[in-house]
Every structure is written in C-alpha cells, then in structure tokens.
Symmetry: C2
Subunit: 329 residues, 2 copies
DNA sequence: TTGAAAGCGGTACCAA
DNA sequence: TTGGTACCGCTTTCAA
C-alpha cells in the first residue's frame, strides 16, 4: 500500500480510503490511486486489516463430517448466506469427538472468526465462555447447548418427527413397531426415541424394550439387532430408523435377508430414497434450511441485533413412498 | 500477550518463546508464563502472527459444490491431510462459474492462504499468475490447467474409465452403445466421450452420433434424450452415463418408463448404487484419494519440495452390480 | 537465558 | 479533501 501511495503521489491514508470505498476522495485522486493499484497488482493484506479492525469477515462452522450429505448441504447453505454478506466459511469435521470439536472451535477463535456455527459433539462448552464474553457470536445447530450457555439454537422437531412416523405406522395397522436409534449419547437420538415412546403411549400401547435398540449405525450391529427382534416370540411388523445412516444400514440388511420386509419409516430423507423398491418412506428434515436459518441468526447479531437467545425448532415432514405403507403380516 | 508478560513478570519475547515452544527458556520461567496464560485465558492472535510471519497455516479449496457427494468426500480428505499438518481449510463452491471461481481464489489469496487446491471451472487462469509468482502453491484437481500454467495436477483416468465401461458392455454382447455425457465445456465430459469413441473404434465399430448426447444432467433433458434414442430405427441396447448426476437422472427416467431397460454403466460410484435393483454397475473414481493426493502434493511443496510440476492420473475401477450385465435385447 | 526495539501492513483518529 | 501518526499484537533481530 505504501508503494501504491508513492506511485500515485498521495498519502497512505488516501490509498486506504480508495481501497475501502470511503468518502472524501476526489475522483481525480481516486483514479490515480486505482491506476497505481492496477499497475502494481496490489491486493490488500487481510491479516493486517484484521489485526487493526478486528473484523475478519469469516465465520467458523463445526459439523460432524463435511462429507456427510446431511451436513454438507447444511454447509452449503451456510456458505451461501455467508457469501451474501461478504464472509468466508472455515469449516471443520468434529467426527463426533468433543475433543476435536473443542480444538476446532478454539482454532477458529484464535483466527478471530466473527462468529461460530456449531453442531455440538460434547456436553461441556465451558471452554466457549471466554470467547462468548469476547464477543464471538455463536449459534448451535441440530443439537442444543447445555443450560447456562446462552446461545441461539436451531433444532429440528425430532420428537414431533418421531411421533409423525409412529402415527403413520399405527394408522397402517401396525402395533409391534420397533425403534432403531443412534447412540443415546446423541441428543437427536434421544429426542427421537422419546417421540417414539410418547406416540406409542398416546395410542395406548406400552413401549416394549425388546423392540428398542440404540447404538452406532454400523451394518453389523443393525443386522444383528434386526435378527434378534425377528426371533422374538412376538416380532415387530414395522420399524422406525433414527437417522439416514441407520436407514441405509437397515436397507442393506433387508437386501441380504430372505424374511419378509418390515414396514419401514426412516428419519432423514436421502438421495435415491425414491429409486429403491419399495420407495423409502421418510421423515424429512431440511438440512439446508437448518444451515440457512442458523447463518441468518448469526449475521443478524453481527449486524447489531441484540436480543435474548433464540431457540428455533424447524418442522419435519412425512414423505410416503411405499416402505412405510406395507401392512402388518 | 503484554498482559501475560506483565503478570508473569517477564518480557514480551519470553512469553512468545513459551507460546511457540521455542528453546531457551528455563523451566521455572516457562511455568510462570504458562500459569499467567491460564489465569488470563490468553490465546494468541493469529492475525498478528500471520502479519509478521507470513504463514497462515491455512489452505484454500475451491470445488464445484461442497454439498455434492463427490466433492464433499474430496473436501474431507483434504481436511484430514491439512489437519495432520496443523493447517485449516477454507472451502468454497464455484458452482461451475469461472467468475465465482476467480472471486474465491482471489479472496483466499488476499487472506494469504499458504496454498490452493482448485477444481478449475474456467479456462483462463491468468489471474493466478501473480499469486503463483508470489509463492502461493497451487494444485489443480480433477481438471487440468491450461498449457503454460505450471501447477501440479491430479486427474482421474477418464479416458481409460470410459474405455473400461465400453469394453465391459461389448463383452456382454452389446453393439449399440449410447453415451450420455455432461456439457462438453467440462473437461472430464470430453475425456470420457473421447474414451468412449476410442473403445468403439478399437472394436471395429463406428461411433454413431445419434447415440451420443452431451449436456447438463437435468432430468428432463435425460428423459428426452433417452426417448429420442429409443425411437431410432436402430435403438441402443446399452448406455454409458458420464457422471453420477447423469446416472441418477437416467435411473429416474428408467423408473418412470415402461420400456425394457437398457444395460447401464455409470461413471462415478454413488451411495446406494448396490441397493437399487438391478444394482448399478459403475466406473468408480476415488474422490477421497484425489483430495488426499492433491493435499499431499501441496504440503510437500510447502515443506520445501521444489521440482517440476507433477501431473498424476489416478486409476478408475469397474464395479459390476447387475445393470451393466443385462444382455442386448 | 532473557530482553529491548523495530516493524509486518494496514486502520483509526485527529489535524491541516 | 488530504495527510500524519499512533498503534493493532505478534515475530524477528540483535544485544545483554
């Protein structure tokens, strides 16, 4: 910038004004400066700007896995909103590991991101308190913050979605409905399980613990649990799977089995769910809307909004495609 | 850092030494400094460090769409390598738009990323020359740089993959093999078309232009082209689709049609390709390996390697699942 | 082993 | 409308 100033025969500050579109520069001077910038191939050093001004025009995004379809569309939606506001997105995969989550968050903070969007993997976010104090705006997505951590949150209506699913299966005559959920350490898994129980109870049915299995979505476990349930004296006729990966694992187990298929409703929509036969009935979330909403909340605060923490719930939708309409046998 | 120094009763520089694990600090002093850091909740300001040292410990990644499964696994692989080297990833979606690509690259550069990994959308990268000159290491992935731009590149063996696919269909008795490719402006689409032609010619068959269609992967176009080809006096019995999105669009068209299915081989593997009936035979690329290789090339140069530009080709693999083994009818 | 001072490249503030 | 100068928080260099 000094070189530009020298070449244009003006002071440093004048160049700065031109670069930042600040008022108070005559057109003639501005043109001279711009010419000099062009000739020198000058580009502003962001680090220096950040150091002085404090604003990095970047936000940090911590999700479970940038390669997971659910989170990658959330990522894209966040990126789109950020771009609209001239901001860049630093993203990282926590791999569901609280330690990694913390590392990522703190790394982002030390880079002085303006804000954070986090899908929390851990339960203890005390490490965030100093950063919040320091003014780093934070929004939690898909999972809530622990009580006492006053941040905006955007969640899905997990309980409602699970109830919707169970209601649908009940309406198709099922009474023995199993639930295959992710590890109970995951918030959404617990909420969905809760919705499942509530829906059964509300229908006057007692949840049968033999028909509930919570754990990681690996194929072997899913196959094992399905076999176990099928061998029960009173086996299930329908199944609700707690997330996309569990649904896929279940479909793989179905494909490898000879026994008749259970009716199936899966939590989370996924690409090609309509091309499998029968089409997979799902409770659809809207990952892109989740990301967009969170990012908009974030930027609203960055632009000065100052209200109490908001806690939003986005609705889920039942999409019927065939698998959830199989009658009991 | 000044506060820490004051509290610990040492000089600024000593704190800097401790923070950076530099030698030449007595244990006792180091402990005092660390205690002060703890008490003050101090975290180093990266912008200041970057401003002085020049190294940002971050790399920029420009892909077509962070939400696309192919590119998001590439993204994840890059992230993993970067993390191993203590680096962060700034990622952005070019949406196949040269202008947006350029914007992203220049933004990343003004943030002084140490290096760039780019899936180029445009053909003119002159804007990159000053940056390369300035020492920003760049690797192109999935598509090559124009001649004269001396950067490392990592590509897939598109031609070989297409030949593999056509060879497979020929071996199953097909002689009328159609090719449905993406827009000819896309490098990989052209290479795959080329491989398709070569394989036919090598087998003594003249490519029939009526059986070739190049264009965007939208469902309507795909359905239209399939109908058109089927109405030919001598319709195709087999089809090669040029990428994952075209394969999916084709499957949707198949699902909505009553006519007998063509044998199908798709370029790109995709999740659930095994769960569709019949399973989809594909030419698999390895997006994660593409990303990993590019990132390793990048970091090798960042760590001092200085050789001529490397141009790597990664192999493709035929995975048979049923759709490509349907006999001609 | 430790410290003092210069400066990285900008922006903020005040003066001209 | 323009310029001068302090200073952001750290690393580098050199001296003690």
């Amino acid at each position: 910038m000094k070189d530009v100033a020298t070449l244009a025969g003006v002071a440093l500050k004048t160049v700065s004004r031109v670069v930042n579109d600040e008022p108070g520069v005559s057109d003639a001077t501005a043109v001279r400066v711009r010419t000099a910038i062009e000739r020198l191939g000058y580009r502003r050093n962001e680090s220096a700007r950040v150091l002085r001004s404090g604003r990095t025009a970047s936000i940090g995004l911590v999700i479970e896995d940038v390669a997971d379809p659910f989170y990658s569309s959330l990522n894209r939606a966040v990126e789109d909103v950020a771009t609209k506001h001239g901001s860049l997105v630093l993203s990282g995969s926590s791999a569901e590991d609280p330690v990694r989550e913390r590392e990522l968050v703190l790394t982002f903070c030390s880079r002085r991101v303006d804000g954070l969007i986090v899908v929390p993997a851990g339960f203890d976010h005390d490490y965030l308190l100093p950063e919040l104090q320091a003014g780093i705006v934070t929004v939690f997505v898909d999972r809530p913050a622990e009580p006492g951590l006053d941040v905006d949150t955007v969640l899905c209506d997990n309980t409602g979605g699970a109830r919707l699913a169970v209601g649908h299966l009940l309406a198709h005559g099922h009474r023995r409905i199993a639930f295959l959920g992710d590890s109970p350490s995951i918030f959404t898994a617990r909420e969905r399980l809760h919705g499942y129980r509530r829906a059964l109870t509300a229908a006057g049915l007692a949840p049968d613990e033999h028909l509930i299995s919570m754990g990681p979505p690996d194929r072997a476990r899913v196959a094992f649990e399905l076999d176990r349930m099928r061998a029960l004296p009173d086996p299930p006729t329908a199944l609700l799977t707690g997330n996309g990966r569990l649904t896929v694992a279940t479909l793989r187990a179905f494909a490898g089995a000879t026994s008749p298929r259970l009716a199936l409703v899966g939590f989370d929509d996924f690409e090609l769910s309509d091309l499998i036969v029968p089409g997979v009935t799902v409770i659809a979330q809207e990952p892109a809307r989740l990301g967009r909403t969170a990012a908009e909340l974030l930027f609203r605060r960055l632009f000065g909004h100052d209200g109490p923490p908001e806690h939003l719930r986005l609705p889920t939708h039942l999409i019927t495609r065939g698998s959830g309409e199989i009658p009991p046998h």
